[in-house]
Amino acid sequence: MDEKIEIIQKLSNEDLLALHSAILNHLKYLDEKVITEDEEEVKEEQADGGEENG
């Protein structure tokens, strides 16, 4: 982490703002990528329905 802090400290103001924005976007992306139990259940139901229809 110290190494990363050092990198952050060396950034220009514009790059610091851009990096912060990229990190926020990535955090949003990561939040979306967590697979919850609810999502799994919906998936299973869809799969079951498909099999039945088939």
Binding site: M1, K4, I5, I7, I8, Q9, L11, N13, E14, D15, L16, L17, A18, L19, H20, A22, I23, L24, H26, L27, Y29, L30, D31, K33, V34, I35, E40
Partner: protein
């Protein structure tokens, strides 16, 4: 932002997303149960990975925001308000010296006229007593101790002041007032006239005081009668300029949300609209560098001129009043002299009525108390004071008209505005008559007027002859046409001047920032950082 693609954290983002997108969540091999088990394990494994990355990137986020906080502290210019205080005080001190040096009355210079003017027909008894105390205290400060004999303008003022000077309680003063009021309903007016009489009586002493105060302060500030205005205008201009380009003041306009930085950046529609407004051809960007320089210097002057014009509109009624009076100035000369003589005569009559009263009271050698004569003298005095009051009104009115005889034919608008300063009663009447001045005290209004007269940036009105058939709006519009700016008469008439000034103020702010050590770009960076940190702080407080 050119190096950011090589940034380790940005690279990590790419690696992460690639890893997550290609994470194998399903298998084709094995039974349904095996497939389900594989999927469950893979989901858990990927969720763990995502969670770890979330924690890690949140740390990066915090590190970035901590760095922003640090930078914001370094970027924020120093607040130099305390340093400016000295300059502001110097400006105020010099303005006071300009006042002492001008040809306004000594009562005006020493603040005594304002005290007297605060006695009004609708003043409460408490107010009247406060004014009397203030007046006596102010005289004491000037080295003059007032006693009961100074308040014997009429038998009623003497009676009232006799209790007042004994430091009677407010209850006692109320009783005294009520008792006098039935015999003299004009007691407030009589007290006011008594104070004016005291000012007149102590004229020489006040003059001596002002003169020695002026000499002392002139020495302290190293100025003299001939250069004090010049020194004041230089110091005021420097102080004003210092504040106008101060990076701290200009930055907080944006960081505290008074102004929107995006409006001021190059490429903004608002910025273009304001700049194009005064550009020949309607497009500032099409001007070449030389034209742009010319434009910028002309708009800097335009703000000062419009400020001057706006003030002119504000005080135009004074000018109109004086111009109307100017027509009668010749006749006023003789009338003024005879009114003065008449007043002197009537003042003597007042004194004799007072003596009559004293005699009827049994005061003096061989005098015998006579109630009927006392009452007669009181009635006579009331009537006479009303007459005197009207005469004084007429005299003051003639005084200002008569002073217009001192104007030469080449007098400027400013010369006429300055004449108004020489008559406190005239100014008092002007500011009490107009509704727009009601929200401020007479003292504040007169002070503002004084500052307007001695504003170092006033130039147009000093150059225009007051007796010529002038149209000041066209004069200003023509001046800026010559300087290659689009300024029409309509843009600066009383209805539109505020909107036009708003646009010039917009351009001036950009110009002031460009003349200062901070740039709009840096302010923009600061505003962006503050938005981020502000949000962060809000989130923290929500969690708490």
């Amino acid at each position: 932002m050119d190096n950011l693609s090589d940034n380790v954290i940005v690279k990590e983002i790419g690696i992460n997303e690639n890893h997550i997108e290609n994470f194998q969540l399903e298998t084709e091999e094995g039974t349904k149960r095996t497939k389900e088990k594989f999927h469950l394990n893979a989901v858990n494994e990927r969720n763990d990975y995502v969670q770890r990355q979330r924690t890690l990137f949140d740390q990066y986020r915090i590190a970035c925001e901590n760095e922003m906080k640090k930078r914001l502290k370094n970027l924020m210019p120093q607040d130099k308000s305390s340093q400016y205080q000295e300059g502001i005080k110097e400006v105020d001190d010099l303005l006071y010296l300009v006042k002492l040096n001008s040809n306004i009355s000594n009562g005006f210079k020493l603040g005594l006229d304002f005290i007297v003017a605060s006695i009004r027909e609708d003043s409460s008894l408490e107010n009247i007593n406060q004014v009397l105390k203030k007046f006596i205290d102010r005289f004491q400060e000037l080295g003059i101790t007032l006693s009961l004999s100074d308040f014997s303008y009429t038998m009623f003022t003497e009676q009232y002041m006799s209790s007042f000077l004994r430091n009677s309680s407010s209850e006692v003063m109320k009783d005294v007032f009520e008792k006098i009021y039935f015999a003299c309903p004009d007691i407030k007016m009589q007290l006011k006239m008594n104070l004016i009489h005291i000012l007149e009586k102590n004229k020489t002493q006040l003059e001596k005081y002002v003169s020695s105060l002026k000499n002392k302060l002139f020495m302290e500030h190293q100025v003299n009668s001939s250069n004090v205005i010049e020194k004041y205008t230089v110091v005021r201009y420097q102080s004003g300029n210092e504040v106008a380009i101060d990076p701290y003041y200009n930055t907080i306009l944006f960081t505290e949300g008074t102004k929107k930085i995006s409006d001021y950046l190059e490429g903004s529609a608002t910025r273009a609209k304001n700049y194009n407004m005064f550009a020949v051809g309607g497009d500032y960007d099409t001007l070449n560098d030389e034209e742009k320089n010319h434009y910028n210097s002309a708009t800097m002057g335009l703000y000062l001129t419009l400020n001057e014009l706006k003030k002119y509109y504000h005080y135009e009624f004074i000018l109109k009043d004086l111009l109307e009076r100017y027509k009668n100035k010749d006749a006023a000369k003789g009338q003024y002299v005879s009114k003065k003589k008449e007043l002197e005569k009537e003042e003597k009559t007042r004194v004799s009525i007072y003596k009559e009263y004293q005699k009827a009271c049994g005061v003096g050698l061989f005098a015998k108390k006579n109630e009927t004569k006392m009452k007669n003298a009181m009635l006579k005095m009331n009537e006479h004071i009303r007459k005197l009051n009207s005469l004084y009104e007429e005299y003051r009115d003639l005084d200002i008209t008569n002073k217009l005889n001192n104007l030469t034919e080449s007098a400027s608008i400013y010369d006429l505005f300055t004449i108004a300063l020489t008559s406190f009663p005239f100014l008092e009447k002007c500011f009490k008559k107009e509704e727009i001045f009601e929200e401020h005290s007479l003292e504040e209004n007169v002070e503002e007027y004084f500052k307007f007269i001695y504003n170092p940036n006033n130039s147009v009105l000093r150059k225009i002859n007051v007796f010529a058939e002038y149209d000041i709006i066209s004069v200003v519009a023509e001046k800026y046409k010559l300087l290659n700016l689009v300024v029409t008469s309509e843009m600066i008439d009383p209805d539109n001047i505020d909107a036009t000034m708003e646009s010039v103020r917009f351009i001036n702010l950009i110009q002031n920032i460009e003349r200062s050590p901070i740039s709009l770009h840096t302010i923009d960076i600061m505003c962006q950082m503050l938005t981020i940190i502000g949000k962060d702080e809000e989130e923290k407080s929500e969690t708490i």
